[in-house]
């Protein structure tokens, strides 16, 4: 359990620690790997392999981005988008996890109510956006709802899958230890399903930003999606790309944050 060991030579200790160190290096490199894509793009644009009017090189986009950062122009849009995603995400994730746990633990409830979710899940969330706009108006409420619907199903199915995979023996242990239904739910089902719940949270974060971009195209006066659409309408392609990069980055950073949380809360699973 200790790192210093008298009977091992420094060289042996070195070799012993090498895999862990490599793993750490891989993690650091993983933060930078998406940059490779940008580099290829830059080279292609500079070499005129792609049309610069539609695909300005990342360096030009970065210049535009810098001006916009200095003018604080984008932050208002980022704030609006983040608020909509955060609220909608919570509104979808919490009931998704709870219902996933309930249907996962109770076979009768699952058999009877399962088909409702199976029937609703394939409905494209964007397709019902006009309806949602009609019901909830063009304000933030409609954005919360459309994100919540998208997030709900991902969380529901991932949690359900996680609970269904709980080894029976864990449930037996709980029962033999005298656990109540709620204790089984809270102390066994939830932690067992946590790795799947985190998979769902990451998938849902990605799809939240896809949904919000589309939702802001259609009915919003603010937000990064609105900004992308407005830039395209005025053929400000560089600005449009800044918007695209920003919203992608928002999704990417959210997923990184969730992965950090996962390492913190699911220390027993392999990453």
């Amino acid at each position: 359990m200790t790192t210093a060991h008298p009977s091992l030579t420094p060289d042996e200790i070195e070799r012993l620690k090498a895999p862990a160190r490599r793993e750490k290096l891989h993690r650091i490199l993983s933060y930078f790997s998406p940059l490779l894509l940008l580099l290829l793009w830059e080279l292609a644009a500079q070499a005129a392999l792609i049309d610069r009017r539609f695909f300005p090189p990342p360096s030009a986009i970065a210049g535009t981005a810098w001006q916009m950062i200095v003018s604080l122009e984008l932050f208002e849009h980022i704030g609006a988008t983040l608020r909509r995603v955060a609220v909608g995400y919570a509104m979808g994730a919490i009931p998704g996890v709870l219902l996933g746990l309930i249907l996962g633990l109770s076979a009768p409830v699952r058999r009877i109510l399962g088909p409702i979710f199976a029937a609703l899940y394939p409905v494209p969330k964007i397709a019902i956006l006009p309806l949602i706009l009609l019901i909830f108006g063009v304000g933030d409420a409609s954005k919360f709802v459309v994100i919540a619907i998208g997030v709900f199903f991902l969380m529901f199915y991932n949690t359900l899958g996680g609970v269904m995979q709980i080894p029976q023996i864990y449930l037996d242990v709980a029962r033999n230890a005298g656990a109540t239904r709620f204790q089984t739910f809270r102390r066994i089902a939830l932690p067992s399903a946590l790795p799947s719940i985190f998979t769902g949270l990451k998938l849902a974060a990605g799809s939240s930003f896809i949904i919000i971009a589309a939702a802001e195209f259609l009915g919003a006066r603010s937000g990064v999606g609105f900004f992308i659409w407005a830039s395209w309408q005025t053929f400000a392609v560089s600005r449009m790309f800044v918007g695209i990069v920003v919203i992608s980055l928002m999704g990417y950073l959210t997923i990184l944050a969730l992965e950090a949380l996962e390492r913190r809360f699911v220390p027993w699973a392999k990453h």
């Binding site: 023996i169 037996d172 242990v173 709980a174 029962r175 033999n176 656990a179 102390r187 699911v266």
Partner: protein
């Protein structure tokens, strides 16, 4: 059906004679709806276990011995027959495979039954400390299950089953997946724990050797549908030395006797 091959053994801490577990005419069957097929798991199982007694059930795989234990533990319902357990609390169970909860530390796993009952943290800590010491896990208190060997994990299961001090301990092939040295060590430790705590133990195994090493009585089960075909007293004195007792000729006579019974059990 009972076959007595020797006089009841003298134990260092004789059972007081009161019946702790009584199983009468137990029948268990499973129904497979997709194939519309009924499988009889056990038929007409009868036995009693006295308070403080250590009883092993041996039988071939699939004979229903685990099913009998799960019914005793209340994890499954019998189809018919009576099961009576004379105890203040439900029996505690030590399971077959790794049943240690991977998201809890060793100490938290051992404390699990207490934490469900709302025992104060101070009391939990004291009791868990005792159990960790008893099972040789003290220095692993904060380890995660994935850091432990199979033997260590089964120690955790044993400690967890003992932590809330229930009278009856049910053990479902707890050492089945372990290597022989580890198994021998844990058998010796289990005997020590049993002698100190005076629990009533029903221990399932497919190993004749293990049954004779541990038990006051060995119940031999037939292949499926399982039933008790013999009830043998194991005469070795307590406390036992799991290695030394192998020098006793009676150990091998009994081994032969049980094997003969297992080999002669009719296939149903």
């Amino acid at each position: 059906m009972s076959v007595a091959v020797s006089q009841p053994g003298r134990t260092s801490r004789p059972a007081d004679g009161a019946t702790a577990i009584e199983v009468r005419n137990l029948v268990k069957a499973f129904y497979d709806a997709s194939g519309d097929r009924i499988t009889l798991a056990t038929t007409d199982v009868n036995f009693t276990v006295k308070r403080g007694e250590f009883v092993c059930i041996v039988g071939p795989s699939g004979c229903g011995k685990t099913t009998v234990l799960r019914i005793l533990a209340g994890l499954e319902q019998s189809l018919s027959g009576q099961v009576r357990i004379d105890s203040a609390a439900e029996p505690a169970m030590v399971f077959q495979e790794a049943s240690v909860l991977p998201w809890l530390t060793v100490a938290q796993n051992v404390a699990f039954p207490l934490s469900l009952k709302g025992v104060s943290r101070q009391k939990q800590r004291e009791r868990v400390g005792e159990l960790l010491a008893l099972t040789g896990l003290t220095e692993f208190a904060d380890a995660r299950p994935h850091q432990l060997s199979g033997g260590m994990k089964q120690r955790v299961s044993v400690a967890r089953a003992l932590v809330d001090d229930r009278d009856v301990l049910l053990m479902d092939e707890p050492f089945g997946a372990l290597d022989e040295q580890t198994r021998l060590t844990l058998q010796q430790e289990l005997l020590g724990i049993w002698e100190r705590t005076g629990k009533t133990v029903v221990f399932i195994t497919h190993s004749v050797d293990e049954a004779l090493t541990l038990a006051d009585r060995v119940l031999v089960m037939s292949p499926r549908p399982g039933t008790i075909v013999a009830d043998l007293a194991v005469p070795f004195e307590r406390p036992r030395d799991v290695v030394e007792m192998r020098r006793d000729k009676r150990f091998w006579d009994l081994t032969y006797e049980v094997w003969r019974l297992l080999a002669a059990s009719p296939e149903h």
